[in-house]
């Protein structure tokens, strides 16, 4: 255990009853980039050069186009389900860009932009969404539940917050293995209400695990607004309560996210300690393709947040710097639209995984009972091939 994590208690003594107000914490918010693409006076920019900046922007555009196209594909019935990152690109990409490739990402589900930043190809995205035989996850989970060992991105699990204490374990493992790497764990402010959040943060603080807990505070958990999710000063105050380095940032400000995560990373690795980042942002889209936000929030509210579009703000900064032109920007969108459309058409024609894969990976090897169940199933399907069209004509 390190000094940074050793427990301590204030020695201040009082002789009158004096409660500390639950709202007494007044955590500031870091802002670097203004709406017009210039930075605030006195703001300290992150470490960023043209190559990094353009890679970040490229990921933003890819993510926007992917979200737009795949939501369309869902409406056409080509995929069963979709969730967007729209509005939260700066939080996800800005933080991912501050990491080393050896840092392990444990995401909630709305962070495919971080996976893209790591190098997940358009084809790989499509294979997962269409549950075809090339999907790394073997077609077992709904669209958007990506995972890729080669890119240190653990596979998404739907039960919320389960990744939080797991991230603590991963961070501790990296420390034990002597690596100068950490785990980064993404979650929403809704998931921060789960017991697993409290367990994970406390374990990390006490064990000195290098982990960045990255909360995307995007205003809603499905229909539930933050006022009905928690009282007190946001999620950041919880980090303080667990004795952890904590910061709140403007989650729609690419430079603020990048700067905070770069420094969080340096601190966590240096001190073997966790850091909590609360990024204040807004879920511009619906919760998922099954949700209709008009039942719980107004168009005006959404419109106001559109003015804080993180991608637009970062683009203006790039244009101001002379690193991007309008023509290049238009071309980038155009190219991704074409690429994604083309890849959709390829992926949806690739067949489903073979039936044998259904019984793989339950344990390291299929049990005798499972082998028997598979044999029965195959026999049954061969008897009624028309009733199981997905697999007819295949082994």
């Amino acid at each position: 255990m390190t000094d940074a994590t050793r427990s301590k208690q204030s020695q201040r003594v009082e002789h009158r009853v004096n409660f500390i107000d639950g709202n007494a914490l007044d955590i500031p918010i870091l802002k670097i980039l203004q709406a017009d693409g210039t930075t605030y006076d006195g703001a300290v920019e992150p470490i960023i050069d043209k190559t990094l900046a353009l890679k970040i922007y490229d990921t933003c555009v890819f993510t926007r186009v992917l979200d737009d196209r795949m939501l369309g594909a869902q409406r056409q019935g080509r995929i069963s389900f979709y969730m967007t990152c729209t509005g939260e690109e700066a939080s996800v990409i800005g933080s991912a860009a501050a990491l080393d490739d050896g840092d392990v990402i444990l995401a909630q589900y709305r962070e495919h932009a971080a996976l893209r930043y790591r190098g997940f190809t358009t084809e790989q995205f499509m294979n997962q969404m269409f549950s075809n035989e090339l999907d790394l996850g073997k077609g077992r989970q709904m669209p958007i539940h990506y995972g890729c060992n080669a890119l240190n991105y653990q596979t998404i699990s739907s039960p919320l917050a389960t990744q939080i204490p797991q991230a603590t374990g991963v961070g501790y493992a990296l420390k034990m293995q002597g690596k100068r790497n950490l785990a980064i764990c993404y979650f929403g402010e809704g998931a921060a209400s789960e017991g697993d959040f409290h367990a994970g943060l406390n374990m990390a603080a006490v064990s000195g695990a290098p982990v960045i807990f990255f909360c995307r505070n995007n205003g809603y958990a499905i229909s539930t607004p933050t006022e009905e999710q928690y009282a007190g000063d946001g999620i950041a105050s919880r980090g303080v309560g667990y004795g952890m380095h904590t910061i709140r940032i403007d989650g729609n400000d690419m430079l603020a996210v990048l700067a905070a995560t770069q420094q969080a990373r340096a601190y966590a690795i240096e001190h073997h300690a966790p850091v909590l980042i609360e990024a204040m942002t807004y879920r511009l889209g619906a919760h998922s393709s099954s949700d209709d936000p008009s039942g719980y929030r107004s168009r005006e509210e959404e419109g106001q947040w559109r003015e804080h579009d993180p991608v637009q703000r970062f683009k203006l900064w790039l244009v101001n710097k002379g690193w991007l032109t309008e023509a290049e920007d238009t071309q980038l969108y155009q190219d991704y639209r074409e690429e994604i459309l083309a890849q959709v058409k390829v992926a949806e024609k690739i067949p489903a995984p073979a039936l044998e894969q259904l019984i793989e990976d339950v344990l390291d090897t299929p049990t005798p009972a499972l082998k028997q169940q598979l044999a029965q199933l195959k026999q049954h399907i061969s008897q009624y091939p028309k009733s199981y069209p997905k697999l007819s004509g295949r082994g």
Partner: protein
């Protein structure tokens, strides 16, 4: 009588129970103004106010523990767990606390007023995490009642009975049928008794048993069997814990055969319990081994959902195998 789908029937039951019982509270993730992700609680906040119908923070453990506390203090909490797949964070509060409050305290305290409602089951392209049927984890826990309706009329009557039962009840709702199952539902207040199975269709040659959404599967299989001259007696168990052994045993004594169908994996599923008990009760009447048509021993899959499901064709084949044994 009114035509309703299952969601409307559930909503109607909640409304009637809240009107009758001022101590009743309805809460869970998104159940407030929004009416729940499936809209089972629509309009309840408007009618009964935010104090009696509200959103909770996103914590199933918190919801269940809070519900236990309320019930132990004399309230009637009806808590929604958004998907049965997400009941596991609440597992400790349910199996160690709800189930044992009365027993461990010598009935100094109990949580009899408590009901958990939760959508379960597959057939909706949800993959695992939106498709599980976790009933057997709870039927194995003494102190809980486990109820599963199959249509709107039952959903209303059983839910009203569950809410008023002096024991904690887990009410599993087949989400596949929420909108798909539509039928005539009595308008007023009525209760369908718990722990009583229903003979949905009488028959001669084999008893086929299921609950919830799988009863429709049995009916389809029975129709196929009919064409081959096999007459099936179809039973809907309705309450899994404690279950109606007598009705099932009586049927099996008549038909000499039993098939049990459920969506959850075969191994450790509730069908095993039914089979063991009926074998004990009806050994000398059985003309073939009791058969089980269930989910495979894998987590619930996405792309092979159709293949995974214990569907009507598989049931039909098992019926024939039992008859020709």
């Amino acid at each position: 009588m009114a035509k309703m789908n299952m969601l409307q029937a559930i909503n109607d039951a909640l409304r009637i129970a809240m009107q009758a019982d001022p101590n009743m509270l309805v809460f869970g993730e998104d159940v407030g103004h929004f009416g729940g992700v499936f809209r089972a609680t629509s309009g309840l906040q408007e009618t009964f106010g935010r104090e009696r119908c509200f959103n909770t923070p996103l914590t199933e453990q918190g919801i269940a523990g809070f519900a236990n506390g309320l019930a132990s203090a004399g309230m009637t909490p009806v808590a929604e767990i958004q998907f049965a797949d997400y009941i596991f964070p609440a597992f400790d509060q349910i199996v160690n606390e709800s189930a044992k409050f009365r027993y461990r305290s010598g009935n100094e305290f109990n949580v009899g007023g408590l009901t958990f409602r939760t959508p379960y089951g597959g057939g909706i392209a949800g993959g695992h995490y939106h498709s599980q049927s976790p009933e057997a984890y709870f039927t194995g826990t003494p102190g809980l009642k486990v109820v599963v309706p199959r249509n709107p009329e039952q959903a209303k009557g059983l839910l009203l009975a569950a809410i008023r039962d002096p024991n904690p009840v887990i009410f599993f709702e087949p989400k596949k049928l929420y909108r798909a199952s539509v039928g005539e539902v009595p308008e007023g207040d009525y209760q369908t008794p718990l722990s009583r199975a229903e003979i949905v269709k009488s028959g001669e040659h084999i008893t086929v048993l299921a609950w919830g959404a799988q009863v429709d599967v049995l009916m389809d299989a029975a129709k196929m069997a009919e064409k081959e001259g096999i007459s099936c007696e179809v039973i809907d168990l309705r309450t899994l814990a404690p279950w109606d052994v007598e009705t099932v045993a009586e049927s099996v004594r008549k038909t000499g055969r039993l098939l049990i169908n459920h969506e959850a994996p075969l191994t450790g599923g509730f069908a095993g319990e039914v089979a063991a008990t009926i074998q004990q009760e009806c050994f000398l009447y059985l003309e073939s081994p009791i058969s089980r048509v269930c989910g495979l021993d894998t987590p619930y899959p996405l792309c092979h959902e159709k293949e995974y499901m214990p569907d009507a064709l598989k049931t039909f084949e098992a019926i024939k195998a039992s008859i020709n044994y």
